[in-house]
């Protein structure tokens, strides 16, 4: 999570609430200010849509990066 509904950096309680609200049973991480997001999006010319998806293989090699609505096509590939 990069930002809360109040446009603030997420804290642990925000992550807990999000995981509870959506029934998420995967790691939910705080990326304050989108530091990691913007690192992965650096090649996209400053335009980023959410959700922003990154798929990495078992060697932690970045296989695919998708911005916004491209995500669904990316997921279908897998």
């Amino acid at each position: 999570m990069i930002e809360t509904e109040a446009y603030t950096a997420p804290k642990q309680r925000d992550l807990e609430r999000w995981a509870d609200d959506y029934g998420l049973t995967i790691p939910v991480l705080a990326d304050p200010n989108g530091t990691q997001l913007w690192s992965y999006a650096a090649d996209m010319g400053g335009s980023v849509g959410l959700p922003f998806t990154v798929i990495l293989d078992k060697g932690v090699v970045i296989d695919s990066i998708a911005s916004g609505s491209q995500e669904s096509a990316l997921v279908r590939r897998f």
């Binding site: 930002e3 642990q12 029934g23 939910v28 959700p51 998806t53 798929i55 997921v75």
Partner: protein, 178 residues
């Protein structure tokens, strides 16, 4: 989601379903269960055998409890799933953690993981740290690069490092709570 098999912290122990059976078998060492012979009477507690009427009643009660425990509507292992549901799912009605992954069968069903797959269980913190993480060398953030490593805090307040997930396919989504 597939996670590695870890000795995770949640262990749902059987409660209501187990205790009646334990009570039946919890005879002191060397004592027959319910033989009813003279030796047993003399060795046993005064509550259980010396008062013939009331004790025989309570014995029959415990027998009926045992019968009820094996009924399909009950939850013998106390994992939150009825015996009937467990039979339908293929899990063991007498084992609260059928796949032995440290998360009870009922919890796995609630969290949409497979109670029969030891490699599939809900994330509850304490992520596995594979040895491969020590050999991963980050290169950058572009497609084709070994991703630069980073560490972020999760919903349990624990730091999770990307390279700890090596040897798994990683699906990562950045989102906002709007």
């Amino acid at each position: 989601m597939k996670l590695s098999a870890l000795p995770l912290g949640i262990l749902l122990l059987g409660c209501a379903g187990l205790f009646p059976e334990e009570a039946d078998t919890a005879e002191p060492p060397g004592r027959p269960d319910r033989g009813g012979d003279a030796d047993t009477d003399s060795d046993s507690d005064s509550d259980s055998d010396s008062d013939s009427d009331s004790d025989s009643d309570s014995d029959s009660d415990s027998d009926s409890d045992t019968d009820t425990d094996t009924g399909s509507g009950n939850d013998d292992d106390g994992d939150g799933l009825t015996n009937a549901a467990e039979l339908e799912l293929g899990t063991d009605p007498e084992d609260s953690d059928s796949d032995g992954d440290g998360v009870g069968d009922g919890e796995e069903v609630d969290q949409h993981s497979d109670p029969l797959d030891p490699d599939d269980f809900p994330y509850i913190g304490g992520w596995a740290k594979d040895a491969c993480r020590d050999t991963v060398r980050g290169e950058g953030y572009s497609e084709g690069d070994v991703s630069t490593g980073w560490s972020l805090s999760d919903q349990f307040g624990q730091d999770v490092s990307l390279h700890d997930f090596c040897d798994r396919t990683i699906y990562m989504v950045f989102a906002a709570f709007w």
